[in-house]
């Protein structure tokens, strides 16, 4: 797929947000693309993901919230809101100009409250970010937001790969809000994982650190699925996902995460007891 190859080649024209050194007038790749070029790219991506299914624009069924200009291209917070949550089956996040645009696909289970989900992503170029919501009746709706950032996928993330891989697979979960029966609870899942994009160079070997990223995260409570996330290299290192679910009983929330190199980690977290 041509546009993706081009994005890969341009990715070295990038600033390193972590070190915050070259914040100057970034010669950002993709900054000068015309609307027509962006639309053509989106049409190509859309077809590759959704085939010939109709994807209707919406101003109400899904919203994507992101900083207009990312301060740190390797950690861009994204919020997806789906107000008609009872009709929502899943949502996809697509970052058109990233080397691998299909950033995340989330499928909600029966224990989910799919009103809002937050993720942190890498953004490699000035790009449109698309959110496509799948309704339970099978219809697809999309909305878009333009984000200015560069270099998020190729920026070295730390001082060494070893450092970045420390504690890989560790997890934490935080619950917030007063738990009450029949009410949804907000949860933040944190996973230690470098999520190497395959575009970060190791200077010792003069080679790229092979891509190693979280491919699937399954979150459930007592056998009821909350959500399943299919991830890719666009997810920021040490992934953090914020979601809501409808707790039932005292069973812990279980998380199974697996990466593209056969890494598999399973953790469970006790759910705070309802106050009444």
């Amino acid at each position: 797929m041509k546009p993706f190859t081009a994005a890969l080649a341009l990715s070295l024209a990038a600033s390193l947000p972590a070190a915050a050194l070259f914040a100057g007038p970034a010669a950002a790749a993709g900054a000068s693309d015309t609307d027509a070029e962006r639309l053509a790219r989106w049409q190509e991506i859309r077809t590759s993901i959704f085939g010939d299914k109709t994807v209707e624009p919406t101003e109400t069924l899904v919203a994507v919230e992101a900083p207009v200009r990312a301060l740190d291209a390797a950690l861009v917070p994204i919020t997806l809101t789906m107000p008609e949550k009872d009709k929502v089956a899943g949502v996809s996040l697509i970052i058109d100009d990233n080397p691998s645009p299909y950033a995340a696909n989330i499928t909600f289970g029966p224990a989910a409250d799919p009103g809002e989900i937050k993720l942190r992503v890498r953004v490699n170029n000035y790009t449109n970010v698309h959110a496509v919501v799948r309704m339970k009746d099978g219809r697809l709706f999309e909305t878009t937001k333009f984000v200015k950032a560069s270099g998020g996928c190729s920026a070295p993330m730390g001082m060494s790969d070893e450092e970045a891989m420390k504690g890989m697979g560790d997890m934490r979960m935080k619950f917030s809000g007063e738990p009450a029966p029949g009410k949804s609870t907000e949860a933040t899942l944190m996973i230690r994982h470098p999520n190497f994009s395959g575009m970060q160079m190791n200077q010792v070997t003069r080679d790229y650190t092979p891509a190693r990223y979280i491919q699937k995260v399954v979150v459930a409570q007592g056998g009821r699925n909350i959500l399943t996330l299919d991830g890719d290299i666009s997810i920021a290192s040490n992934p953090v996902i914020n979601f809501a679910f409808l707790p039932e009983g005292k069973a812990p929330v279980t998380v199974v995460a697996s990466d593209n190199q056969d890494g598999r980690w399973e953790h469970s977290f006790p759910v705070p007891a309802p106050s009444n």
Binding site: G24, L75, S160
Partner: protein
């Protein structure tokens, strides 16, 4: 006017007679022979035989050769030590020219204070002098991870001829080290993760001056690229050294150490405390970036460019506490 700070040595407690003898009383900043890379900033003699160029509080641009850090040199009885190499080959060459305009003594040592390009990309300019390149024991690995990436960015901004190559340390300081230039000894301390993971500080025995490099930012907003908690810890290590005056990595070429460090730790402490509070109240990271630490906004240059990233860094570090 910052460029004329050199004239105010008296006010800083350093006698000006030596400087006048050296430079014939001319203001260096106004000499036409000064390189462009100095951006109008001359060298201040901040102590006997210690010369420092103030880097402007700016980002790397094609016009400034990335000459944005405080770089300089120390002259001993036998040889010269370069305190910071410069932000590019062009900046390093400018500094070497300044050294050669003042002394013929050999350049025996070049300090690479940490991995950031505005401090170590001038090193190539000194390679022909065959000096000892002094760096933190973790610098090599950090340069391996980031050096080529920095060079690529620098080449984009300055062009291949001016950018400079990655130069590795030949003396890797594990904990401490001492160098004798003749008549003065320089003591090095390799710090734990703070501004970066490879910060090296230096103390001069003759003047008592401390060279904390980027462990001390003055006027320019600190950039966090190592560990927030670690930086506050290393600030205590520096304080315990008991230096009265210091040459910060950015800001004026000479400052009273205690109040300057107090400003820095106030910023870092604010960042730490407000981030911990935000985490305890489940504040989302995007809200944290937009709202934390705003009381520091009018206290630092380039705040809008760096502060949000510092909050992001702090958040990433502290959310795993």
């Amino acid at each position: 006017m910052a460029a004329h700070d050199g004239w105010r040595f008296g006010a800083r407690g350093v006698r000006s007679s030596r400087r006048e003898a050296l430079f014939g009383g001319l203001c260096l900043c106004c000499l036409p022979t000064l390189g462009r890379s100095a951006e109008g900033f001359g060298l201040d003699e901040v102590g006997p035989g210690i010369f420092v160029r103030r880097g402007p509080d700016a980002e790397a641009t094609p016009d400034n050769d990335d000459a944005i850090a405080n770089i300089g040199f120390i002259v001993g009885e036998r040889s010269v030590l370069v305190t910071e190499s410069g932000g590019s080959l062009a900046d390093g060459r400018w500094l070497r020219g300044q050294i050669r305009a003042r002394t013929d003594k050999p350049i025996s040592h070049v300090v690479l204070t940490h991995v950031h390009p505005d401090h170590c990309f001038g090193a190539e300019a000194f390679e022909a002098d065959k000096p000892v390149f002094i760096g933190h024991h973790a610098l090599r690995a950090a340069l391996d991870a980031r050096g080529e990436y920095y060079r690529t960015r620098l080449v984009e901004i300055l062009g291949a001829e001016k950018a400079g190559r990655v130069v590795y340390p030949t003396l890797e300081v594990a904990d401490g080290a001492e160098i004798d230039l003749g008549g003065r000894r320089l003591t090095f301390h390799a710090h734990g993760a703070a501004h970066t993971n490879c910060d090296l500080s230096m103390r001069d025995s003759a003047s008592g001056l401390l060279f904390p490099a980027d462990l001390l930012f003055v006027t320019r907003i600190p950039s966090l690229d190592g560990s927030l908690v670690g930086w506050l810890k290393e600030a205590e290590v520096l304080k315990a050294m008991g230096a009265e005056k210091a040459v910060p990595g950015h800001g004026p070429t000479l400052v009273a150490f205690a109040p300057a460090m107090a400003d820095l730790t106030r910023y870092l402490g604010t960042l730490r405390d407000e981030t911990r509070k935000a985490l305890a109240s489940d504040m989302p990271i995007e809200t944290a970036v937009a709202t934390l630490g705003r009381s520091e906004a009018d206290k630092w240059a380039l705040f809008d460019l760096y502060h949000g990233r510092n909050v992001t860094q702090a958040f990433k570090e502290l959310e795993w506490e």
